[in-house]
């Protein structure tokens, strides 16, 4: 069964249309990469799946059931977790408290503060620190760990490598490989195409609110991807 199915989704910000009849399917255990230039609608898509944005028409199905009427805070309890663009950790809370808040929904699963710290050992010594005092990479690790605390079936990652040092990006991608290994389904939005294609087994290129190219990375030539990316 597919974990996520998007059917003809139109999303607007006021009068501005961000997504035009977008459809695709993510299978269980897949790593689905959304690439494309700024303003392509990738982040809007993740926000729509998480419930922060409502489609004007079309449907989002999670594990076969429509979730359009379910609010963002209830979707977490179904197993959808979004790591938002810009990390958005709770600045006044400690690292430990940020992770505790991640488990607020009470969804059962294997993730715990200990296992998150095992996945991101850099968080261990920072446990009592205020999240606002963390570096960008530390905040990103915390944001992913916080999302994992909700024991998601579907993990949505928005621009996880943006503005981070290469060594940190490497560590985050290693963590992603580990998550795929334990069966997590991931939809990742990235601008760093080369990097994301090393972990993705399916890729969709977004251009001005539409999918301009879709397929397995192995089936797509880099010329085709470049053309779809820039709309040439």
């Amino acid at each position: 069964m597919s974990v996520l199915e998007i059917q003809d989704v139109d999303v607007f910000y006021g009068d501005f249309q961000a997504l035009f009849k977008v459809s695709f399917t993510v299978e269980e255990g897949q790593t689905f990469a959304c690439i494309g230039a700024n303003g392509g609608g990738k982040s809007t898509l993740l926000r729509t799946v998480a419930g922060l944005q409502r489609p004007r028409s079309g449907t989002v199905l999670f594990q076969g059931k429509p979730v359009d009427q379910i609010s963002a805070h209830d979707r977490v309890k179904l197993g959808i977790a979004l790591v938002p663009e810009g990390r958005r950790v709770f600045p006044s809370l400690s690292v430990y408290e940020n992770l505790q808040i991640g488990a607020y929904g009470g969804r059962k699963g294997d993730w715990s503060i200990e296992s998150v710290m095992e996945l991101f050992p850099l968080l261990k010594p920072l446990s009592k620190r205020q999240a606002s005092s963390l570096s960008g990479g530390e905040q990103q690790a915390l944001a992913i760990g916080r999302a994992l605390m909700s024991n998601p079936t579907l993990l949505l990652l928005d621009e996880v490598s943006l503005g981070l040092a290469p060594v940190v990006i490497k560590r985050i991608y290693e963590a992603m490989v580990h998550l795929v290994g334990i069966g997590t389904t991931i939809v990742v939005v990235e601008q760093d195409v080369q990097h994301v294609l090393t972990v993705a087994d399916h890729v969709a290129c977004f251009l001005e609110g539409r999918i301009s190219l879709e397929g397995k990375p192995s089936d797509l030539s880099s010329e085709a991807i470049t053309a779809a990316y820039f709309g040439m």
Binding site: H73, I101, Y104
Partner: protein
């Protein structure tokens, strides 16, 4: 010894001001909403307690418990049924709506209870005092009010700092949308914040009503004192609010002693303006950004 006595009266009075201000600070902290009906809601609670005493014939203590529970529920329903819809678009909407609410409460109370001054009689506790020495004695009641204020603020601080729900309050205050992504229903959190705020201001209103006479127009003054306490203390710090309340209380009682009754209020406002000019963010401002 007169001055010491006056200062102590001021400190104790400051506790009551802080209690009025705590709910205002909580609501502002959690949802960045300014509730202009806050003072009137405290006075409303005093009238509710008066009504319960008169109609059910119970003592002030029981009437207080019932009133606090009622105001807790009123707070939750008011937030979810009305005030939540004013949030988001622009900051002026909740101000206009709560200003309207303030007028409705005041006039409703005048219609129902008339504009006469009322009193809540708590019995002998109002008149007994502890004697420190020949010149100095402290009334039990003002002392009790002060202790209650500290207990409420400490309890609220513990709730915010140590409990799962308190953490959700702080997370929502930091970033509402990110909190939604953690499974936190912000509308429910806002409802609870207003419920707690009104429960606390109900206690403050009743304590005030036992201490002095009250009438339907008092809410506006209470609101101003509460604002002054919160701003002097620094937004976001509950203990700061207590200090702010104490500074205001002491300024007022010392002002009255030095320049005559009636001047105290003016001195209180002047001290507030001075603090605002010298230290605009208050004594213990606590703001954190990402």
């Amino acid at each position: 010894m007169d001055w010491v006595n006056v200062a102590i009266q001021g400190i104790l009075l400051g506790g009551l001001y802080a209690l009025f201000a705590t709910g205002l600070a909580l609501v502002f902290g959690v949802m960045r909403m300014v509730n202009l009906a806050h003072g009137d809601l405290g006075i409303l609670a005093a009238f509710v307690a008066l009504f319960i005493v008169q109609s059910l014939g119970v003592g002030v203590l029981w009437a207080s418990v019932i009133t606090i529970v009622i105001m807790f529920l009123v707070g939750y329903l008011l937030q979810r049924g009305l005030l939540n819809f004013t949030l988001g678009a622009d900051d002026t909407r909740p101000i206009v709506v709560t200003f309207g609410l303030s007028i409705i409460i005041q006039n409703g109370l005048i219609m129902w209870f008339s504009a006469d001054s009322q009193g809540l009689d708590a019995g002998t506790i109002e008149n007994i005092s502890v004697k420190i020495n020949d010149q100095l004695s402290i009334g039990w009641y003002p002392l009790l009010v002060f202790i209650a204020s500290i207990a409420v603020i400490a309890g609220l601080q513990l709730f915010l700092g140590r409990t799962k729900l308190g953490r959700a309050f702080r997370a929502t205050s930091d970033d509402r949308e990110a909190a939604e992504l953690m499974g936190i229903n912000n509308r429910h959190i806002y409802g609870l914040a207003m419920a707690i705020a009104l429960a606390i201001v109900a206690l403050a209103g009743i304590l005030l009503a036992v201490r002095t006479t009250f009438d339907p127009t008092q809410g506006a003054f209470r609101l101003i004192y509460a604002f002054e306490a919160v701003i002097m203390g620094g937004m976001g710090s509950m203990w700061g609010t207590l200090i702010g309340g104490i500074v205001l209380g002491v300024s007022q009682t010392i002002g009255s002693q030095a320049f005559g009754a009636g001047w105290g209020l003016l001195v209180g406002h002047l001290v507030f303006l001075t603090v605002l000019a010298v230290r605009p963010s208050g004594f213990f401002a606590k703001t954190v950004t990402a």
